[in-house]
């Protein structure tokens, strides 16, 4: 399995994030593989995975805003029922030109993910059905709220009548001081 995918990955210029490589300081599961692929090769690669690689199930489809590198990382999580194996395809796209090929022709339900991604991140998927319709936010008029340059606190304060007198405590200190003063040492 692994070899098979790797062989084709070369064709699509997909780069595995090595199995032994620790991501976030933890060892990966045996049945999970991360692949990084260029934007142009992403959909062909996913198509190959679906049609020939046996990864018939689109489990998850989301995006991460790496504002520091000025990219959106799009994440496709695929699953193969035959091999009991997951594969994560990571694609980085330009944050300034947030546009990605649609995969709704592979999985119809991907259209809904894309609708959500458009609403939350402003990533467009040309040709995706109902892309510009409201998904979760009815009549949202601000910038896409999940972009990290969108200041939700400021927006909230501006929009939702903050009640004055709100105090924020650090839970650990607050607990120590207020609730369990005698047991402070046990913490």
């Amino acid at each position: 399995m692994y070899e098979n995918v790797m062989k084709s990955a070369e064709r699509f210029k997909a780069r595995p994030l090595g199995r032994d490589q620790k991501i976030g300081g933890m060892k990966q599961r045996e049945d999970l593989l991360f692949m990084k692929v260029e934007q142009e090769q992403a959909v062909p690669f996913i198509t190959w995975l679906k049609e020939l690689g046996g990864f018939g199930h689109l489990v998850l489809f989301t995006a991460v805003d790496f504002i520091e590198q000025d990219i959106f990382q799009i994440t496709y999580l695929l699953h193969s029922y035959e091999q009991h194996h997951d594969i994560v395809v990571l694609v980085e796209i330009d944050r300034q030109k947030a546009e990605m090929e649609s995969i709704h022709h592979l999985w119809p339900h991907a259209a809904t993910y894309q609708q959500e991604l458009f609403e939350m991140f402003g990533i467009t998927f040309p040709g995706s059905p109902r892309l510009y319709e409201d998904f979760a936010l009815e009549g949202w008029q601000g910038p896409p709220p999940m972009r990290r340059d969108f200041d939700t606190k400021e927006y909230s304060e501006k929009t939702y009548f903050p009640r004055p007198g709100r105090v924020t405590h650090d839970p650990a200190t607050y607990m120590k001081e207020q609730l369990y003063p005698g047991e402070a040492q046990t913490w």
């Binding site: 409201d134 936010l137 909230s156 929009t159 903050p162 009640r163 709100r166």
Partner: protein, 218 residues
């Protein structure tokens, strides 16, 4: 009423004020909806109103609409552990018949739209219980882009129950507080809403786009 034309014009003027423009209803759909404004209804006087208030307080019908995570606390309230029926409280599936609206925690903008519509469909006098911190000041969602912070800017609230989550005991205490308030004749959210309708509506419309309904959902 005489047929004096002056008088008639005046009446028309008054009637115009009593009807809503319903600007948010789509073209050609005005005829589907009632366009009357909510009106302030004077309470009965004296002992009759006190008696009525007692009856209202002893028969609290909750609208079965779990708007947020706090609604989970209503279930144990119904079952044998807490048994809210003892206090004359029972759930009701339709706003037409319910008298108490328990806002179960955080209210996103999307939910808020439904809350307002349902609130308006309830028949007065109607009472609102804000459940959990989220309804008071946004709670843990205080800086969320999509969750309101203060419920009382959108609909009149009679009782707040603080906590995240408040336990069923707190809810019962809240209901009892509501009962006391009702008996004291202090719960007049319905008239408050009607009186300050434009303010409430402006607040609601500030956050809720695509209203697509009449301004007051009869």
């Amino acid at each position: 009423m005489d047929n004096d034309s002056n008088n008639k014009e005046q009446l028309d003027e008054i009637r115009k004020q009593l009807t809503l423009a319903n600007n948010d209803v789509r073209e050609g759909e005005q005829a589907y909806f009632c366009d009357a404004r909510p009106v302030v209804v004077e309470p009965y006087r004296g002992i009759l109103e006190r008696f009525a208030n007692w009856a209202r307080s002893e028969s609290l019908w909750i609208l079965g609409f779990g708007t947020g995570c706090g609604a989970i606390e209503l279930r144990p309230l119904m079952t044998s552990r807490y048994d809210m029926y003892r206090f004359g409280i029972q759930p009701r599936p339709t706003p037409r018949q319910a008298g108490v609206f328990v806002i179960g925690g955080y209210a996103s903008v999307k939910t808020m739209k439904r809350i307002v519509r349902s609130y308006e469909q309830m028949q007065g006098p109607k009472f609102v219980v804000g459940l959990g911190s989220c309804t008071i000041n946004g709670g843990m969602y205080w800086d969320s882009y999509n969750t309101i912070n203060r419920l009382d800017h959108y609909i009149p609230v009679d009782v707040y129950i603080a906590g995240c989550m408040p336990r069923p005991e707190a809810l019962l205490a809240g209901f009892n507080a509501l009962k006391a308030k009702i008996r004291a004749g202090e719960c007049d959210g319905m008239n408050k809403y009607a009186q300050n309708f434009d303010w409430y509506k402006a607040n609601q419309k500030q956050i809720i786009k695509h209203w697509e309904m009449p301004d007051y959902n009869w």
